[in-house]
C-alpha cells in the first residue's frame, strides 16, 4: 500500500453562500465517503477541512503577508490522506470524494529511501 493525498479544491464563495441544507448534504457526503473507502479496500489515514483562505497567512522569505500563497477562484479547502494499492486504486477512491463546488487533486506521498 502507498499513501496519497487527496486535495479538495473548491470555490469558497459557493460555501459562503450555501444554504444550511446544502451544507448538511456536503457533511453527509463526507460521512458516506468515509464509509466507502474501506469498502473499496483503501484506508483514510486522516482527513480535515480547512478554514477559508481569508484566514490564511503567507510567509515568503521572512515577509509575512495576509492571504493565501496563490489567489485562485478554487482553493484547497480540505484534504484526505489515504492508503491505496496504486494510482488506479487511489483514483478509484478519489472519484468518490465529495467536491461539489470544484474537484480533487491526487498526489502521491514522497517516500524517502
Amino acid at each position: 500500500m502507498a499513501e496519497y493525498l487527496i486535495l479538495i479544491f473548491e470555490d469558497e464563495n459557493a460555501y459562503a453562500t450555501a444554504t444550511p441544507d446544502v451544507i448538511q448534504q456536503v457533511m453527509e457526503a463526507h460521512t458516506r465517503f468515509a464509509e466507502q473507502v474501506p469498502q473499496k479496500g483503501g484506508k483514510i489515514v486522516e482527513g480535515r477541512a480547512l478554514q477559508p483562505t481569508s484566514t490564511a497567512t503567507t510567509i515568503r522569505g521572512d515577509v509575512v503577508t495576509d492571504g493565501p500563497f496563490i489567489e485562485t477562484k478554487e482553493a484547497v479547502g480540505g484534504y484526505y490522506l489515504i492508503e491505496a494499492r496504486d494510482l488506479d486504486h487511489a483514483l478509484d477512491i478519489a472519484k468518490l470524494c465529495p467536491a461539489r463546488f470544484g474537484g480533487v487533486e491526487v498526489r502521491p506521498i514522497m517516500v524517502f529511501g
Binding site: R85, L87, D88, V111
Partner: protein, 450 residues
Amino acid sequence: MSGSPPPGGPGCGGGNSAGPGHDAGPGVQPGTVSAAVADAHRREWAFVLAATARVAGDLDLAEECVQDAYAAALTAWTRQGVPRNTGAWLTTAARRRAIDAKRRDAVLRAKLPLLIEPDPPVASSAPPGAGAGEGEKVIPDDRLRLIFTCCHPALAREAQVALTLRLVCGLTTVEIAQAFLVSEPTMAARVTRAKKKISAARIAYRVPGPAELPDRLDAVLTVVHLLYATGHTAPGGENLVRADLVDRAIGLARMLRTLMPDEREVAGLLALILLTDARRATRADAQGRVLLLEEQDRSQWDRAVIAEGTALVLWALPGGRPGRFALQAAIAALHAEAPSYAETDWPQIVVLYDALLRAWSSPVVALNRAVAVAMAQGPAAGLAQIGELEADGRLGAYRYLPAAKADLLRRLGQREAAAQAYRAALALTDNAAEREFLARRLTEVTGAPS
C-alpha cells in the same frame, strides 16, 4: 524447427518480413547477424521489454537490460549462430541481467518497487508468448500491460505518445524528437518526467479491468491513431508523409489486433489506418504536390490492403452501437470502394457521419460531415453547415475549415470569397506540400499569382 511463431506475432515495425531468424549456423556473416538483430529489434522489442519489465520492476532498468541483451546478441549470434526463437533468446538474456542487477541493488530496490503489479496473473485472451523452442519455458506476453501503462490517462497525451514510441516501439529519444519536431533535450525531459510519474505515483503495470477497459482502450487507440495521423500528414517539413511513423502506427495497430482479437474498436482502428493508407501512393504527385481524393488515381490504390480493411470493417460494425474508429473506417471503406469521387455513395456517408457524431461529438467530424453534405446535396448546403461551425468558434485554428470552405465557394463560383478563405487556410498551415496546394488553388481563383 523453423515453423515456430515469433514470440509476439507482429511487432510494431509494420514490416512483413518472414519469421524469426532460422538457424544460420556458426560462423555466419556479420551482415546476416546484424540484419537478424535489426529484425528482432523491429519485431520483438515490445515483447522482450514488456516481459523484462515485469522481472525488473522498473522501466529504466528493463530498458537498460534489453538494450544490453540486443548488444550481446550481436556477438553471441555471430559466434553461435542466430537462434531459432530470437525473441525468447533476447528475453532470457535481458531478464537474467535484470535479476542480476536487482540482486546487486537488493537493498535499494526493495525500497523502490517502481513497477506495481498487484494483480495475480490471469488467463488472457492473448495468444501465449514465446514458442517453447530450445527448452525455453513459455514467457507470458506482457505487451498489453506495457502499452496500457504507457497510455495511462494520468499521463499527458504527448507523454503517452513519446512513451509508446520509446518503450513499445523501441525508438530512441533522438528519433522521437525528430518525428515530432522538438529538440532532443525537450523530448528526453518529457520521457523522463513520464517515467518518473509512473514510478512515483505508482501507475500499475497491468491491463485494466472490464469496467475501465473501454475508456482506457480508447486512450491507447487514440495514441496509435495520433501517431498515424502525424505520420500521414507531417505537421511541418518538406514531405507530406513520414513513412516511419506510419509504419510504426500500422505495426502497433496490428499488434493490438493480435493481442485483443475480440475488441471491435481495435479492428476498427486497424481498418481505418489500412483503408487510409491504401491511398498513400496517390496522395501526392511526382513533384510532391498534394492531390485531393477526387484527383487521385484510384487504379493505384492498394486493393489487397483495401480488401483487408473492408473485411475488418464488416467484422467491427455489427453487434451493438459501433465505436468511432469502426464508423470512420466504414466511411473510408465507402470511399475506397467507389469507382470515382462523383460516384461515391455520399448519402450513405452522411448517414455514417451522423452516427459518428453521436458516438464522438467533435467539430472536426462535423466539418467532414459538411463536406459530405455538400457532395450529397450541393455545395450551398455544405457551406451553410460550415458557417455554423465557424460561428461555433472551436475550429478557429483548424486549417482544414477555411480550406473546405474555400473549395465549396470555388465550386459555387464565388471567386473573391474563395480567395479570402484560401488565404486564411494558408496562414494556418506549415506543411510545404499543403501550402503549395493551397497557393495553387488561390492562383486559380484569383486568375493571377498572388
